[in-house]
Symmetry: C2
Subunit: 475 residues, 2 copies
């Protein structure tokens, strides 16, 4: 059965995630999804790239409990307001009613700050930077969707504390840089937006978010970085003694990356009608070797396939031989294309005789031959080209998706076309709400790192535009 | 403040886990502990050794949800009986009462089998082997203790399904081998015991456990492997079609390793009065370089320290330089001894001039000099010797701890002495219960892989002994 990604993205996506063993959405609790073998390997690889980068930048890996006591959760007013409606409550253990209710973390600020309070004594303890990869829990009332929106989702969250707002500000920029590095390694394109105040993280001073395009026209938020100022520090009494012996309040930041949504973006950006196409950095297998048996050559082909495997393994390439005798080569091609393995290496009698390998790129299906001697370099080169191609395609698509609208009618029309639309905006939230009422999208924010200047009247009120706002559909 | 591990193990342990940043037990919910940076790095390293080995042996990494619906949990009668009293119940989300209660997994059989039922169609789908590293939740009513017993604990669990009991039996042996491999890499000694039937996993046919010694005389269960036979397969209708088109019931196994308890064993077995001593396989830093500044040589010492670091890094050694100017060398020695880093490399003016490094072993404090040229080999050699020494010491201690008792009085006396005691046992559970009533220990099981034969009358009833039983204190 042929799949048409462009004609039926949702059908394509649902089929790919199951056939490529990414996730199984048949778990018998709504909004809770099972990561299968191939999907979890990709998730783990993404998490590790991020974790390594965070640790190089001074974040300690930690693990906090999944449960938060009600009283700790209730300490920051805006935070409660933002999350209280969507937390899961534990009320009993065995037959016993608990003295105080516990909630499953929707995010970990209120779990972490009581310990930060113990860990931070003096300015020498700052900055304090930690991160954890874990699941968080939100009772979403909107439609759940595997990888995009679940009631349990895998993410990495970093939390930092600083001597003052300025140092926290530097950390926000560092957080943005770290996330940018990860998405770049995956060949993903993105917009970096400062969220409007009415859409910031509950308890934040302001929020920066990475949004990316999705084939269905609904932007996918793949990461957020928050300046928390002194809001949480006040609520949790995060004080330290400065160089002059004065008690001062810390400033904090946090940033989170939803691993599921990043996988969704990888699938959505790079996949094609044959299935996944994985960026080499996170492909569990980078080269799959398919022996092409031929009467009389079965053994020599198998032996040679192992030789090719050993040569690549030695070169640090993640490689495997598919020697499952139950499948014909064509069936194996189909399978590994679905799984998105970047390169296929075919070895048959002619390759054995020539001591060569036929290499087929997953993105372009271009075929080329390499001798065993030059194999490692050729594979590295092809993986790099494939990566560059995926990245270029993703950025080109984003560029195509983002268009200007000069007035409300144009905006409506472009949102109907499922574009991501730039408009002039005065900055008044009422104009943003009006957009939400009038069109099937909403103001996602304003470009974080500058870019174009607002150049005309606000698209709604006609007042002077202070910002270029990004308007898009959301899921 | 000097610490005496042998005189006050509990005091020593509590201080080491906090000072070496393993875990912080001050989280405001009883039985829930925070993994700090150094501890989590060790936990992760242990988990990765196990995960790699499991995956080499055909287990796919997966992640199942933390919540289990009540009806799935209630399907296997013995399993309910074993766990129902200790599960945490989620009853509400926001202000909404849930239609059906969800529980936090105490172990994942009942989460996994509904999906196994979907994944297993024919004999070609078997064996099916998965594993996951995750936290599980048990409302322990006994005293909780960081790393040893928490209400949330980090573990790895593997689950397998097979065509018949015999194949499941082979998997049980494979599971035991995999766990043995991991403990060996950590230099831990252990007893492999078949648990008495009254102490097997709830729903299992039989259970095999790894128990190890602890300085306080209470054995530490660091892993278990369970033959589940058809018990769960029946409850969850895990049927497959065999080669002849017949519907048959699968057999299943599972095995779990508590990462916290393994860390506790690493700390307890290898640590000394100076703090942790880490086996090189899981030491986040294997060699810590301490520059010894000397007036006029500050810069050349620092530069040389970086050169030494680069040489070791290139050789695949996990290495760091401690160039914190706020601490004197002696304070750094103290700190990294507490953290258990296997080797210290001191570089001062004389090392700069000679182009050598002074190496100090953490286990024996032996000092030796190596030239920069031979450094990598010498470090590898010292790490290997240190590992062997830790392993030998752990096994020697176990050998010393395990003693025979010929009668109940001897058993009582040896348990008073906090030994692990071998006795002759007829196999009747009533005799085992009698032991538990009479002495401060209990029957932990019978040696899994043979060993000594029972050689006399049962220590309780005087009937013919069929087993050598291991009796010990438990925590």
């Amino acid at each position: 059965m042929m799949m048409r990604k462009d004609e039926d993205f949702t059908g394509w996506f649902d089929r790919v995630i199951l056939e490529a063993q990414i996730v199984d959405d048949r778990y018998p609790v709504k909004g809770f999804t099972v990561y299968m073998g191939w999907g979890y390997r990709i998730a783990r690889a993404i998490a590790r790239i991020l974790e390594e980068r965070l640790e190089e930048e001074g974040h300690q890996p930690v693990q906090f409990p999944v449960v938060i006591p009600e009283d700790a959760f209730m300490r920051e007013a805006e935070h409660i307001e933002g999350f209280a409606a969507s937390v899961f409550w534990i009320t009993h253990a065995g037959d016993t009613r608990l003295d105080r209710r516990l909630l499953l973390r929707p995010t970990s600020e209120t779990a972490i700050y009581p310990l930060f309070k113990l860990w931070i004594r003096s300015h020498a303890d700052l900055p304090l930077r930690i991160h954890q990869t874990c699941n968080v829990y939100r009772y979403e009332t909107k439609a759940t969707r595997p990888l995009y929106r679940g009631r349990e989702f895998l993410w990495n969250e970093a939390h930092t504390a600083h001597r003052d707002y300025e140092d926290a500000e530097r950390q926000v920029r560092k957080g943005v840089e770290i996330y940018r590095y990860v998405y770049d390694r995956l060949g993903l394109s993105y917009l970096i937006l400062r969220r409007p105040d009415f859409d910031k993280f509950a308890g934040a001073d302001y929020s920066v978010a990475f949004d990316t395009w999705n084939p269905d026209g609904k932007v996918n938020q793949i990461g957020t970085v928050h300046q928390l100022g002194e809001n949480f520090a006040k609520a949790f009494e995060l004080e330290y003694e400065d160089e002059y012996g004065r008690r001062r309040l810390a400033s904090t930041t946090c940033y989170g990356m939803g691993i599921g949504r990043v996988i969704a973006a990888v699938i959505a950006h790079h996949g094609d009608d044959h299935g996944l196409v994985l960026p080499p950095a996170v492909a569990p297998i980078q080269v799959i070797i398919i022996p092409i048996p031929f009467k009389g050559y079965e053994e020599s082909v198998k032996r040679y396939a192992r030789e090719v495997e050993a040569a690549l393994k030695e070169g640090g390439i993640r490689v495997a031989v598919d020697d499952d005798d139950r499948l014909r080569p064509g069936e194996k091609y189909y399978k590994w294309e679905m799984y998105g393995v970047p390169l296929r290496a075919e070895v048959g009698p002619s390759e054995v005789n020539e001591r060569t390998v036929t290499l087929v790129r997953r993105d372009t299906f271009e075929r080329s031959k390499a001798t065993l001697e030059e194999l490692k370099e050729r594979v590295e080169d092809l993986l790099e080209r494939l990566y560059q191609n995926l990245k270029d395609r993703s950025w080109n698509r984003l560029e195509k998706e983002v268009v200007w609208a000069e007035n409300l009618d144009e905006l409506k029309a472009q949102i109907e076309e499922r574009r991501i639309v730039k408009v002039n905006w005065c900055g008044d939230p009422h104009c943003a709400f009006r957009i939400k009422d009038e069109v099937a999208g909403e103001v996602r924010g304003t470009p974080w790192d500058g870019g174009e200047e607002a150049k005309g009247p606000c698209i709604i009120c006609g007042g002077e535009a202070r910002y270029v706002a990004i308007v898009a559909r959301t899921f």
